[in-house]
């Protein structure tokens, strides 16, 4: 007897649950509800949420839920959500991964929107092309970016050494950094971070020598000898006391928070120009940014690339609304102003001119740097092949082996080249 009552109650309960979830669904459909996923620092989150809020104020029928993750967990999250058929409508994309996602059919081809709701013609061909895969637009550049050398100016002044400037040679930088270490003004403080395990630094150095990381058809574009000389360069830096020793450098987990300059272990470190604003936010002292050292007669090593792109999911039910929001971020004065130059210097000259007068001093430094650098950059390298993501970690690991003295620089060079080639063959 009691059992039937229970069953009836259960059924009633289930019906009620279904009814409520139905209400929930229809409410969500009434407005355009979208999800936006990005990686980055707190600074970026604050700015992104502010832009979303401003957009929603203008478009009350649109609601955008934003989520932010660190670089590592971001790609896990995105891959799982995409694999599970639950991709966010708006996806912050990196140049490293756009080919992977676009060619696997996960991103929306935005070419049909160009000139309509996506009014980015003033980006110019180079900046539009940086979001193209197989001649279709899968991403919109959120800012122009390049690698940089960050300098803690205060620490250099304190050590009584002239701070690094554009156009130094690698040797000059090393010697100057050795002097900062030798000045011993701070405890456990070194001239420069050890960049031997950093892929952007290695790539820049390779390009200066007329090589590259990868060829257009996805093979290694350097030899074991090159890698060995790179490790030799840093072995020399270590020997003259210019850079952080191995066990200090290993604390750098390739995040901004563990960067050697941010954690006050070095007066110089290496990052991307769009990260400058966030780094200045993390350190109290005055910092500056200069271009990578280059030896006399070397080729341009640095290049301009999209700091990151905004893509739309191929499975989004709100494709038009999503593209409209992308356009808001890069071409609407309000949206672009809210983002500032934290994701890089805007690709649209119109927006750049509009932003510059109102920028704070730190952001102006970045715009100025990109302006100074532009005449000296080389072409955008071809997109890295599948498996290249693993090679960034491999370089860090093998650079550490050399730094800790577990292997010779000669063996390290051979090992890195061999394993990096194997990784991209495997895909």
């Amino acid at each position: 007897m009691t059992l039937t009552i229970d069953r009836r109650q259960l059924l009633a309960g289930m019906a009620a649950t279904l009814a409520f979830s139905g209400i929930g669904l229809s409410r969500a459909n009434a407005a355009t509800a979208m999800r936006l996923l990005w990686w980055g620092s707190k600074e970026r989150s604050d700015r992104t949420f502010a832009a979303v809020k401003a957009y929603q104020a203008k478009n009350p029928d649109v609601s955008i839920a934003g989520e932010s993750f660190g670089w590592d967990s971001y790609w896990t999250r995105l891959a799982t959500q995409t694999g599970g058929g639950n991709a966010p409508d708006l996806i912050q994309m990196d140049y490293r991964y756009i080919f992977e996602y676009a060619r696997r059919g996960a991103l929306l081809d935005m070419t049909p929107y160009l000139g309509k709701s996506l009014a980015i013609e003033d980006f110019g061909p180079a900046n539009i092309d940086s979001g193209k895969v197989d001649n279709k637009i899968y991403g919109v550049s959120l800012g122009v970016n390049s690698s940089m050398v960050v300098v803690n100016t205060s620490a250099w002044v304190e050590a009584g050494v002239e701070p690094p400037h554009d156009g130094m040679t690698w040797e000059q930088l090393g010697d100057a950094c050795a002097k900062v270490t030798a000045a011993k003004k701070r405890r456990g403080f070194y001239g420069t971070a050890d960049a031997s395990g950093g892929e952007p630094a290695f790539e820049c150095w390779l390009r200066q020598r007329g090589k590259a990381l990868y060829t257009a058809d996805g093979k290694l574009a350097f030899e074991a000898k090159d890698a060995t000389e790179w490790f030799d360069l840093w072995a020399h830096m270590r020997k003259i006391g210019a850079c952080t020793p191995a066990d200090v450098q290993a604390l750098d987990q390739q995040t901004l928070e563990t960067d050697m300059l941010v954690t006050k272990k070095a007066a110089v470190s290496y990052a991307h120009s769009n990260q400058f604003v966030a780094i200045q936010g993390l350190v109290k002292e005055k910092i500056d940014l200069v271009s990578y050292p280059m030896d006399a007669g070397s080729k341009p090593g640095q290049y301009l690339k999209p700091s990151m792109l905004m893509s739309v999911s191929a499975t989004s039910p709100n494709k038009d609304a999503a593209v409209a929001f992308v356009n808001y971020l890069v071409e609407d004065p309000e949206g672009a102003k809210t983002l500032g130059v934290e994701r890089g210097v805007p690709a649209s000259p119109k927006i750049r001119d509009l932003l510059t007068p109102d920028l704070d001093a730190t952001s102006k430094q970045v715009v100025d740097y990109i302006g100074r650098l532009t005449p000296h950059v080389g072409p955008l390298p071809p997109s890295p092949p599948n498996g290249a993501g693993e090679n960034a970690f491999l370089l860090k690991k093998i650079a550490e082996e050399a730094a800790f003295g577990k292997t010779s620089t000669k063996d390290a060079g051979a090992k890195f080249t061999e394993q990096a080639a194997a990784n991209i063959t495997r895909g």
């Binding site: 059992l3 790609w75 896990t76 992977e100 200090v248 450098q249 604390l251 860090k396 800790f404």
Partner: protein, 303 residues
């Protein structure tokens, strides 16, 4: 004479239905979140699944690569085995020691029990691993103590490949709470008349321990050893947090599960990672089977 026609005895299912209803969440969890994914991963381990595209069958390729061509499989297995072999016996010994101390009828026992158990509760949490990072950092508490107590300028423990794994072993030992609680329960089960008889006979404390406590505790030791070994094989969070998911420096903290995770989510090789997961299942099964086989020689149940 009245006949009860309206009453019919409920069937066995109807009588047990409330029980099944209460079990329903467990059934959903087991089939939906454990068995289902396990079968899916077994299938995926024979494919080249990359999360974004439909999987293709590749036969035994993934397993062949694990067996013949994967250096990282070997190095991560070495790290994990070292971790298991070092941390499990030390953790159990420590847990037993504390359990023996707490078993001597001190006042405020529940409080001590709770305090000692706390680290295990927080066990796999990220917060603890972050704390550990700071303790063993170059300017962490350990080095500060070493400097003031002995004038030693200690290395940066967690970022030096010669020491980083030991800090994780110490972290594991520190989380001795759950085996300790089980040891305590086991110690309470030992009949006191045995101890009384032994002390009447004038047996020394050490002799009592080795002849009475330890043999009677072997079933509990066995249980703890099996559970802790399986846990240690599956350890993930501390290594992930301490190395930010890299397993560094120089793969010195690249636990097997961390390697599996990197393959799956870092490099989109979900098929291969599934194969790695099944190899781990087999290895744990072999270890457990071996424990059970050896148990008949050293575990004593009440005769």
């Amino acid at each position: 004479m009245r006949v009860e026609t309206s009453y019919k005895a409920p069937s066995a299912f109807a009588r047990n239905a409330p029980g099944y209803l209460f079990l329903l969440p467990w059934f959903i969890g087991f089939f939906g979140l454990t068995l289902g994914p396990a079968i899916a991963s077994l299938y995926l381990s024979f494919t080249d699944y990359n999360l974004l595209q439909a999987p293709n069958m590749v036969g035994l390729d993934n397993y062949v690569r694990i067996a013949t061509a994967d250096d990282k499989f070997l190095s991560s297995m070495k790290v994990t085995l070292f971790y298991v072999v070092c941390s499990v016996p030390l953790k159990l010994a420590f847990a037993l020691l504390v359990a023996l101390l707490l078993n001597r009828g001190i006042r405020g026992l529940p409080v001590y029990r709770a305090i000692f158990y706390l680290p295990s509760l927080l066990g796999s949490s990220v917060a603890i691993a972050v704390l550990w990072r700071q303790i063993f950092d170059a300017d962490g508490i350990v080095n500060t103590l070493l400097w003031y107590a002995f004038g030693i300028n200690g290395p940066s423990w967690i970022s030096n490949p010669d020491y980083s794994l030991y800090t994780l072993v110490i972290l594991a030992i520190w989380q001795f709470g759950s085996p300790m609680i089980i040891f305590l329960a086991g110690l309470r089960q030992i009949p006191t008349d045995l101890y009384e008889a032994a002390s009447l006979d004038g047996a020394s404390k050490a002799r009592i321990f080795f002849k009475i406590t330890l043999p009677l505790l072997t079933p509990v030791i066995f249980f703890n050893a099996v559970v802790q070994t399986i846990d240690a094989f599956k350890a993930f969070t501390p290594a992930y947090v301490i190395s930010s998911g890299t397993g560094g420096p120089i793969d010195s903290t690249l636990f097997y599960t961390l390697y599996l995770y990197q393959e799956a989510f870092g490099y989109f090789r979900m098929g291969y990672a599934s194969a790695l997961a099944w190899v781990l299942v087999i290895i744990i099964a072999i270890f457990t089977a071996f424990s059970f086989l050896s148990a008949r020689y050293w575990v004593h149940y009440d005769d």
